[in-house]
Structure formats: C-alpha cells, structure tokens
C-alpha cells in the first residue's frame, strides 16, 4: 500500500503562472518532508524541505505547505519558468526511524513558454 501518493502524474502550466504540486501521505508518524526535482538522465536534486513542527517553508520562488490534519503536502512555484520543467518527487521520513526516505511516484511538470 502506498504511503506517499502523488495523484497527478503530470501538470502543465504557463510560464509566469503558479505551479502547485500535491502529495498525500497516510502515516501521521512521518516527521520530515522533502521535495526533489529530477531532469531526464540526471539524479534527483534536493529542492526544499519542511519539518512536521512547521506548516510553511519558503525559499525564493518555492514554498512548501504542510497540512498535518489533512496529511497533505504541497509545493508552490511562483512564478513558474520553463527551466522548472522536470519530474518532482515528494519524500517523507518516518519519525524515530532510520535515515530512510519514502518517495512518491512523481509528478511531471511542464512549463510552457
């Protein structure tokens, strides 16, 4: 059973508009949440993260929101740029567990010029 779900396999937005990528998780014992970006033929690169004690973290054009009651995580990109076109993975860590992360299946974002 999937513990981390990214229900939208793909998303297409216009340059300059907002991109919103979503992630749902099932276990309230997850305590750390991360977003990664992956270009074709490259390894994923870390984008932004948030601890369960916070509900928002911002880094430039990227903002992550955490809604613990809904077990929902979202990544906002404003404004979107064509270079943001990539696959985005959310990842979660189990509280008190090891260093392992559980990844979602990814959402492919396309930003059209």
């Amino acid at each position: 059973d999937q513990q981390v779900k990214q229900n939208s396999p793909s998303l297409s937005v216009q340059e300059g508009r907002i991109s919103i990528l979503n992630c749902d998780y099932t276990n309230s014992m997850f305590d750390y949440f991360l977003w990664y970006k992956k270009y074709p033929a490259e390894g994923p690169t870390f984008l932004i993260s948030i601890s369960s004690i916070k509900d928002k973290n911002e880094d430039g054009r990227f903002t992550v929101f955490l809604n613990k009651s809904a077990k929902h995580l979202s990544l906002h990109i404003v404004p979107s740029q064509p270079g943001d076109s990539a696959v985005y993975f959310c990842a979660v860590r189990f509280q008190g567990g090891s260093e392992k992360l559980v990844f979602g299946k990814g959402t492919k974002l396309t930003v059209n010029p």
């Binding site: 750390y32 991360l34 490259e42 994923p44 993260s49 260093e99 392992k100 299946k105």
Partner: protein, 113 residues
C-alpha cells in the same frame, strides 16, 4: 559541493551475468542508498547502509546484494542479472540526523538483454 559519482552512466549486460554498480561519495557521509527508478513507480529503495559493513534491506532487495567495505564506497551487485532488472539505478548519500537530505549521483541506466 557534495559529489556522488557512479561508475557508469550506461551499461548493457546479458541475462545471467553478475553485475557490479559502484558508487562513491566525497563528503564523509554515514549513510548510503541504492534506488531504482522505473516509469510510473517512482524511486524504490533496494538497500541502504548506515555504516561500514552495515546494511539494511529496502523495499525491493530480492535479486540484489550490496557491499560497503569503505565509508565512501557502496556497491550494488546483481548476482544473476535478469531482464526485469533493466532500470535506472540511483545511488545517494546523506550525513544523517541533520535534515535527512539525500544527495544523488547521476544514475546508471542498466539494460539486461
């Protein structure tokens, strides 16, 4: 900058061959990980290591083994390659207990024919 390198970007092997994938990190990280990425399935953890000679199974360890004789190097071994092991293999490392961020290598595209 953290650097994670993988021995090959592309590899073609025959069914039944023993395959070695090598990963080296230069940041003195405690933890190292092997994932495979398949379309529609996201990143799935095969094995990880939290110290030299220490390892733990991930979600899909069947058909794979690992070796970590030195802190900086983590090897993935396919004992007898099969066509269903054709995939993108990604190595990652992390310092641990800081922000859980994992740094990924560029990946090895393995094709088993």
């Amino acid at each position: 900058d953290v650097k994670v390198t993988q021995s090959s970007r592309y590899l073609v092997k025959r069914t039944g061959e023993k395959v070695f994938l090598e990963c080296v990190q230069d940041m003195d990280h405690e933890n190292m990980f092997w994932y495979r990425q398949d379309p529609g399935l996201g990143l799935r953890l095969i094995y990880f290591s939290y110290d030299v000679k220490m390892k733990e199974k991930g979600d899909i360890p069947e058909g794979y083994s690992v070796s970590r004789e030195k802190k900086e190097r983590f090897s993935l071994i396919l004992e007898s390659a099969s066509t269903n092991q054709t995939s993108m293999y990604l190595c990652a490392s992390s310092f641990g207990s800081v922000n859980y961020e994992q740094y990924f290598g560029p990946g090895t595209r393995l094709t088993v024919t």
